[in-house]
Amino acid sequence: MTAALTLDGVTKRFGGLHAVHDVSVAIAEHEITGLIGPNGAGKTTLFRIISGVTRPSWGRVMFAGREISGRSPHHVCRLGVCLTHQIVRPFTDLSVLENVTVAAAFGSGGRRRDTIHAEAEGILKFTGLAGRGGAPASVLTLAERKRLEIARALATRPAVLLLDEVLAGLNPAETEQAVGLVREISAGGVTILMIEHVMRAMMALADRVLVLNYGRLIADGPPAEVASLPQVIEAYLGQRLEV
């Protein structure tokens, strides 16, 4: 397995609290890796460290053989690692197409002006937003906003896509569509690391699942296996009661 992303002893302290504690793992290329864990386990913090928004207190993040920890987010994005936000953040004053255009223009190294527009349109089509290009981002439904969030990230031509709870708040039909989209993105060769709470979808999508609890990595393996590990169950449900 070639590693797309390598985390080496990544630790983040906020005062006395270890939000992320000594996480070392290699994320395989072209796979879908799930990241689960109870609330407050440090998953989003880990994403923020990888994407450059937060600096790790210790440890390194390596991508394509280079260290990216400590680089500014825009640099990390241009190198090929892009993050979508848990709470979606569209540019509300811009149209859907314009939103994607921003990402296409800045995302991955220099691109010729004339191709940016075409690329943006292509991505809208891919993510199912083709008819909504001219609409202001502010009028989109939640499901559409999530797709816009993904579309923008895709426009930066990422090698690694970090999806933060992209299925949250969607109804069953929308969830199915989103799952299909994630599969298609993966099929296109993008490495996906996704935080999810919607377990069924996660188990169906992921090739491998990592479990975080209190900032530590407590499990790592295929979904079915991980789901039945005692420490994982304990993390979510608490200790077994001896009755």
């Binding site: 906020f14 913090t45 923020r48 937060t54």
Partner: protein
């Protein structure tokens, strides 16, 4: 110049100034803490408070200290009114909207004062303006002592009220966490109006006290406002007592700095501290209150 006696004398002056600075910044701190708004009309109310105190003195021979107290209810009402009419209605499409609105208010206040009282320097001379007391061998102007004593007592009363009344606790709660405040049933609109009223009242109160120490004109207030902001940035806002800490830091820094440089450059100390504090204090104090509190 650096004799022990001189240093102590400067120290005493700094301490007395700190008291004034604390009460002067209090109004700004309340408004900023509760509403997350930078009140650029603070300077205007400092100045109006000074001028109103002048009016009471000229018309009814009211001592400036008493005049300052008279300002409290008067300007509280004014502040409350302004909040209902103006501040509450600002569309938050622009992040700096309320800042600019209050700035506009400052311009209006300045001009009104100019129109009513003209642009010349005014001062209030009382029977004790030029008197000084001997304290541990140092001559201290009576006016400075009075201002310090009044400021300290008022701050003490405020501290008590904040800790022991419902409104006081509601205010502190909103400063610490507005969302949580909403969740426990605090009416943030009323609290904001209260905060704005109090902020205005204390600005005018401080303005009244300032007349004992300085002469003033309609342009007066700008530098005090910036110093007030420096103080609240330095002192932090976890509890309103941070204002006292910030006031002390600024007062001492300013007072001792004059030993090394021209007096006319004194205000630069405050401005430099402001900019440095904004940058150095964890990501600027603004980051403590930005959208994502991680």
């Amino acid at each position: 110049m650096f004799s022990a006696q001189n240093l102590v004398s400067v120290g005493i002056a700094a301490l007395l100034t700190a008291g004034l600075y604390a009460i002067m910044s209090y109004g700004l701190a309340i408004i900023y803490g509760v509403m997350r708004v930078i009140n650029l009309s603070h300077a205007g109310f400092l100045m109006l408070g000074a001028f109103m105190t002048l009016v009471y003195f000229q018309r009814w021979h009211l001592d400036p200290v008493l005049g300052a107290f008279v300002n409290l209810p008067l300007f509280f009402a004014l502040g409350w009114l302004l909040h209902r009419l103006l501040v509450r209605r600002v569309v938050t499409s622009l992040p700096v909207a309320s800042l600019l609105l209050l700035f506009g208010l400052w311009l209006v206040i300045q001009n009104l004062a100019l129109a009513i009282w003209g642009g010349e320097d005014q001062s209030i001379i009382t029977a004790y303006t030029y008197k000084a007391l001997s304290l541990f061998g140092f001559r201290v102007p009576v006016t400075r002592l009075i201002v310090f004593a009044v400021a300290l007592s008022v701050l003490a009363v405020l501290h008590f009220l904040l800790g022991h009344t419902y409104l006081g606790k509601a205010l502190r709660a909103t400063v610490q966490d507005p969302t949580a405040g909403l969740l426990v049933g605090i009416d943030t609109d009323r609290i904001s109006a209260l905060a704005f009223g109090l902020g205005t009242a204390f600005a005018a109160f401080a303005g009244g006290l300032l007349t004992l120490l300085f002469s003033f004109n309609p342009d007066f207030g700008g530098s005090f406002q910036l110093k007030s902001f420096t103080i609240i940035v330095l002192g932090g806002l976890e509890n309103l007592a941070g204002v006292a800490a910030g006031a002390a830091i600024l007062a001492f820094a300013e007072s001792y700095a004059v030993l090394f440089m021209r007096a006319s450059l004194q205000n630069v100390v405050a401005y430099a501290l402001l900019v440095v504090a904004l940058i150095v204090i964890p990501g600027g104090i603004g980051s403590l209150f930005s959208q994502n509190r991680s």
